[in-house]
Amino acid sequence: MSAEAKIKQLIVKVSKGMVKEDMITMDADLRKDLGLDSLTMMELLVMIEDAFGISVDIEDAQAASTLRLTLSYLEKYLKP
């Protein structure tokens, strides 16, 4: 499964199904457009850490307001 597909799956899970996968575009704002509150964003971060086996700096995560930006910081952490 690609990183993009995995993160979409996690967004759906963390939103408890309120967000549907087809709502998640690369540039949809996770908070303003998809309605994730600040705590849900942190839950998403922990789920991403678990799923990819990484430990993310909270500042990086807080700046990642879209799927595109999330994939961008993830690439940094997954670089060998």
């Binding site: 899970k13 963390v14 600040s38 705590l39 839950e43 922990v46 850490e49």
Partner: protein, 326 residues
């Protein structure tokens, strides 16, 4: 010798701070406040009440429920970060208030991990015949340390006390396993900066409100979400068990969202967790014994049940215990 919990008691002050009051003060909708925390109201101690008053009231109930006379207690432990005085230990006032003549006493400061650490210490004393029975109380009057302009802390923290009497347990019952850890590099994530030896109180520190709680909510939330599941899993493995062997999880009652997130991470239904903060908020070291007492009252815990209690908080530090209920 095994050691376990013989009886419980709680005390919640009658004063309260509701979401309606916070909404009016800060202009945040009531529904949003509840969604963020899972709390509807926090209890606030009366002006004439201090930590020991709450602790004594909870302790009386625990002594009664465990059919324990004061003279049977060999040690009084008060887990608190909001004691009556900087010195002496609040436990001394509890000892005096209950007329427990033969016991030693000390305070245990590990903030929201205090009760779990107190269980480890108290059960060890009983198991090693250092005390026939131990009175352990988690008690807090946090409302007096909160910044009136900080919604994040006013939303969460409340006052209360929960007490247990610890004593001998049958083989295979009581405290079966424990685990603990800390990461002092995050000491400033939740801190009261002034009033100690690092930064004694001055007019300047009072003006800057450094004697009040300052919390980096994001860091603490992230830490809590990670550690609740991780610590619980470690103690379960240490006992040679699996998650499916645990009947009831009683986590520190920091925020309902943290407990929900941990349940999701562990792949468990929320119903396996005791969530008891709606009516009293986050009472730090008192939270777990209050949740335990309420779960017992609701008939959620039966003889033979395996419980995991996990505390985590300022330090940051954490700990979990696995008990089998007698």
């Amino acid at each position: 010798m095994q050691a376990g919990i013989l009886g419980t008691g709680i005390y919640l002050p009658e004063g309260e701070l509701t979401n309606e009051e916070l909404s009016e003060r800060f202009g945040v909708p009531v529904e949003e406040l509840f969604t963020l925390s899972g709390i509807k109201r926090r209890r606030i101690a009366a002006p004439e009440q201090a930590c020991s008053d709450l602790a004594i009231a909870a302790s009386r109930q625990a002594l009664e429920n465990s059919h324990t006379a004061p003279e049977e207690i060999g040690m009084v432990i008060v887990a608190t970060s909001s004691g009556d005085y900087p010195t002496p230990a609040t436990a001394a006032l509890v000892q005096k208030g209950l007329g427990i003549r033969a016991a030693g006493c000390f305070d245990l400061k590990a903030n929201c991990a205090g009760f779990v650490y107190g269980l480890m210490a108290g059960c060890s004393m009983v198991s090693n015949a250092l005390a026939p029975k131990v009175l352990l109380v988690g008690a807090e009057v946090l409302s007096r340390s909160l910044n009136s302009t900080d919604l994040n802390s006013l939303l969460l923290f409340g006052d209360g006390a929960g007490a247990v009497v610890l004593g001998p347990a049958a083989e295979g019952y009581g405290l079966l396993a424990s685990e603990a850890g800390a990461d002092g590099s995050a000491y400033d994530a939740l801190i009261v900066e002034a009033g100690g030896s690092r930064l004694p109180s001055t007019r300047q520190t009072l003006e800057q409100k450094l004697e009040l709680v300052r919390m980096d909510g994001g860091r603490i939330f992230m830490f809590a979400m990670r550690i609740l599941g991780d610590s619980a899993l470690r103690v379960i493995r240490k006992a040679g068990l699996t998650v499916d062997d645990i009947d009831v999880f009683i986590p520190h009652q920091a925020n309902r969202r943290i407990i929900e997130a941990a349940a999701m991470r562990l792949g468990l239904p929320l119903e396996r967790f005791v969530v008891a903060l709606e009516d009293c908020g986050n009472t730090s070291a008192a939270a777990i014994p209050i949740a335990l007492h309420q779960a017992l009252g609701e008939g959620r815990i039966n003889p033979g049940d395996r419980l995991v209690m996990t505390g985590f908080g300022a330090g940051v530090c954490w700990g979990s215990v696995l008990l089998r209920w007698a």
